[in-house]
């Protein structure tokens, strides 16, 4: 007997997408993660633009990941121009990533994901019975925004990070204020981990999963470093950023405005769970404690564990941000002026870790500093094939064959991926010969 599970419009995610799974008996005959977000075709927009205009345009690809888009673009353009950022700039940019990650994960976990576990339609509904839990999520989210505002000048679409450095550096008083908030954040993270341990288990699917993440010279850095690591049960491979097209092959499908990404013809997963799977041997003792408390196996073959992995990252990021802010307070900030950029005809490719995973920007400039070609590969686009793979196995492995229950599981898996559908729409044309 043929049956069909349809999620017309996936709620509590960023953007517009849906899921369709067709069953022939107990076997899945077709699975689709559809993206019907409109096409903005950003590639056509940045071509011909001057190098200093690019980061502000591509930041608009996505609000929740706007730090990652703006800063990956700066990193790639600086690479193309042959300049290297100062250690202070790298440190401040990484701090912005922490802020973005804290905000994004707190929003996702408390507003989008946890309501499912406790059977609420959203955080507003949940607040009626669990006001403290919602207030805790709001405080963590606000902490992430405070970091982004202090260093980046604005919580959504940061303005202060520019080519070669920053417009204005934070003041001593601002850093002290961040330090105070981050200390509260450390306490809040413990409460959040405790809350997480009380949630019902979600063993919806177990399969061997291939993970990809950037590996940083320092443990768990989101901004510095460039190596792409792909890890599967066959071992790990390391790639240079410039070879990203060898890592990722994209396929167009008629039902979605996002292309499907494959590595050696197999889906792969990026994001918090992938980062932990690849960097788990370099975690702090607090982070390792959170991993144990949450009972998170690393690596994990259950996509629902991405929620736990994001919780662990909240612990990592608040601790790391506090450490950075305290170092900046102790050592003092050097009043560095942004390094001047002299355009040249070249290509620059940069890799960073956005909240939802690996993010790649690549630009080719002409000698006047105008964009000739651009390419952006986003985490949600990379995850699309992996989501479909997990949908398929979750349905086939589910003992419960009741359609509404299967539908609920599919929605929860989709949300665990924390898809950012604005990002997933393929925005740019593949590089072409100049």
């Amino acid at each position: 007997m043929k049956r069909k599970i349809v999620v017309d419009h996936l709620c509590r995610v960023e953007g517009h997408g849906g899921i369709t799974v067709e069953l022939d008996g107990d076997v899945v005959s077709d699975v689709q993660f559809q993206v019907f977000e409109g096409l903005r075709l950003v590639e056509g927009l940045v071509r011909g633009r001057r190098y200093e205009d690019v980061s502000q345009i591509v930041s608009r690809i996505c609000a929740i990941c706007s730090v990652a888009h703006a800063l990956t673009s700066l990193k790639a353009t600086e690479e193309a121009s042959g300049i290297e950022s100062s250690p202070q700039t790298v440190r401040l940019r990484d701090l912005m990533y922490r802020g973005e990650n804290i905000e994004s994960h707190a929003l996702h976990l408390f507003f989008l994901a946890i309501p499912d576990y406790l059977d609420y339609a959203g955080a507003a509904e949940m607040a009626a019975d669990h006001r403290e839990a919602v207030a805790l999520g709001l405080r963590l989210k606000q902490l992430g925004n405070a970091i982004q505002e202090t260093i980046g000048g604005r919580a959504v679409h940061p303005v202060n990070a520019i080519l070669g450095g920053f417009g204005k550096l934070p003041s001593f008083d601002q850093l002290i204020s961040l330090q105070r908030r981050l200390r509260q954040g450390m306490v809040d993270c413990e409460a959040a981990v405790d809350l997480f341990t009380t949630l019902p288990s979600t063993e919806y699917c177990q399969i061997d999963t291939t993970y990809a993440a950037k590996r940083s010279p320092d443990p768990y850095g989101y901004y510095p470093g460039d190596e792409i690591v792909v890890r599967s049960n066959e071992g790990s491979e390391v790639y240079d950023p410039g070879d990203y097209r060898a890592v990722i092959r994209e396929e167009t499908v008629p039902y979605s405005h996002a292309k499907l990404s494959l590595h050696k013809d197999k889906p792969f997963m990026v994001g918090a769970l992938a980062r932990l799977a690849i960097d788990h041997d370099r975690l702090s003792s607090r982070a390792r404690h959170a991993v144990r408390m949450l009972g998170l196996p690393l690596p994990s073959g259950n996509p629902m564990d991405n929620n736990k992995a994001q919780m662990v990252e909240l612990v990592i990021d608040v601790e790391h941000a506090l450490l950075t802010v305290e170092q900046l307070i102790d050592e003092g900030l050097q009043q560095e002026k942004p390094i001047a950029i002299h355009p040249r005809a070249d290509t620059g490719t940069a890799v960073t870790e956005a909240p939802r995973g690996l993010l790649i920007h690549s630009y080719t400039y002409d000698s006047d500093g105008r964009v000739v070609a651009a390419d952006v590969v986003t985490p949600t686009a990379m995850n699309a094939a992996s989501m479909e793979n997990h949908f398929r196995h979750a349905v086939e492995q589910s003992v419960e064959k009741d359609l509404p229950e299967l539908k609920r599981k599919l929605e929860m898996i989709a949300r665990a991926y924390d898809p950012c559908i604005s990002c997933s729409v393929h925005l740019v044309r593949k590089r072409h010969a100049i």
């Binding site: 709620c11 509590r12 960023e14 953007g15 517009h16 019907f36 977000e37 409109g38 096409l39 903005r40 075709l41 950003v42 590639e43 056509g44 927009l45 011909g48 633009r49 001057r50 205009d53 502000q56 608009r60 690809i61 996505c62 609000a63 929740i64 706007s66 929003l107 507003f111 989008l112 309501p115 339609a121 959203g122 507003a124 509904e125 607040a127 006001r131 207030a135 709001l138 405080r139 989210k141 606000q142 000048g153 919580a155 959504v156 679409h157 303005v159 202060n160 520019i162 417009g167 204005k168 167009t252 499908v253 008629p254 405005h257 929605e411 604005s422 393929h426 740019v428 044309r429 593949k430």
Partner: protein, 256 residues
């Protein structure tokens, strides 16, 4: 005042304005107490997609027939419709390059698959339906949004900014980036309300809030050209957030 029925919607965009609403962390619990939010897909899975709404808040530009149909449905069920963010008010970044051949671009990116995709050139909400209030910004400013909605619901006229970023910059006595550092700062042409956020960080205004009424484009363009910028680069910069696309077109035509 009884709790008004409210819907919050996103068409095509980055969801940044809905994110600003969710970023009102201090006031979130008050907001959900004051408003009966009936339809907000980004934040809830229990949405009534048919009920009448006292207030619809819509972000994003119209970039497909799907967006257009959704907007028309929202308008039909709502007493007041508010456009939030530069995309909804002006078309946003997707509208910056109105001349590009869309079908060719889609074919280039997606191949033959792309031919069946539902895609139209970017339009602002007011190009399709009546809009009762525009709150611009990329993203919107939290205070302007909250006071605007609060005024509307209390029967007052929202107070909208009318002066350019440049005026707010002068009030704060920031150094002028146009005259002192010869940047292509769009402050004199851009709608204020951000308290000159970027010039305050020594960064030229990029025009993300859209154009201010009665901007003196001619004089500012002459100043940019005096400072060594070419017409084409000026036109592109002005078009970035689409707000100035009409005038920017005029600029390009002058050139030819």
């Amino acid at each position: 005042m009884s709790r008004p029925n409210v819907g919050i919607f996103g068409l095509t965009g980055c969801a940044g304005d809905q994110l600003v609403i969710l970023n009102c962390e201090d006031r979130f619990l008050h907001i959900i107490a004051a408003l009966n939010i009936r339809d907000f897909a980004m934040a809830s899975s229990d949405n009534d997609s048919a009920c009448d709404l006292d207030l619809a808040i819509v972000e994003g530009a119209v970039l497909s027939r799907r967006d257009e149909e959704q907007l028309e449905r929202i308008r039909a069920r709502s007493r007041i419709l508010v456009a939030i963010g530069t995309c909804a008010v002006w078309g946003g970044i997707a509208a910056m390059d109105g001349d590009t051949d869309r079908s060719q671009l889609v074919r280039d990116i997606y191949g033959e698959c792309g031919e069946q995709f539902d895609t139209t050139p970017a339009r602002a909400l007011h190009e399709i339906v009546g809009v009762d209030l525009n709150i611009s910004g990329c993203p919107i400013e939290e205070e302007e949004f909250l006071s605007g909605i609060s005024n509307l619901l209390n029967g007052d006229l929202p107070i909208a900014p009318t002066t350019p970023v440049c005026a707010e910059c002068k009030m704060r006595e920031y150094n002028c980036l146009l005259t002192e550092r010869v940047d292509m700062c769009l402050g004199p042409l851009t709608l204020g309300g951000c308290n000159a956020r970027c010039p305050g960080l020594s960064i030229g205004c990029v025009g993300c809030r859209g154009p201010v009424d009665d901007a003196n484009l001619e004089s500012v363009t002459a100043l940019f050209m005096e400072n060594g910028f070419g017409r084409e680069d000026i036109a592109r910069k002005l078009r970035t957030f689409a707000g100035l696309r009409v005038v920017a077109h005029t600029l390009s035509e002058d050139e030819s």
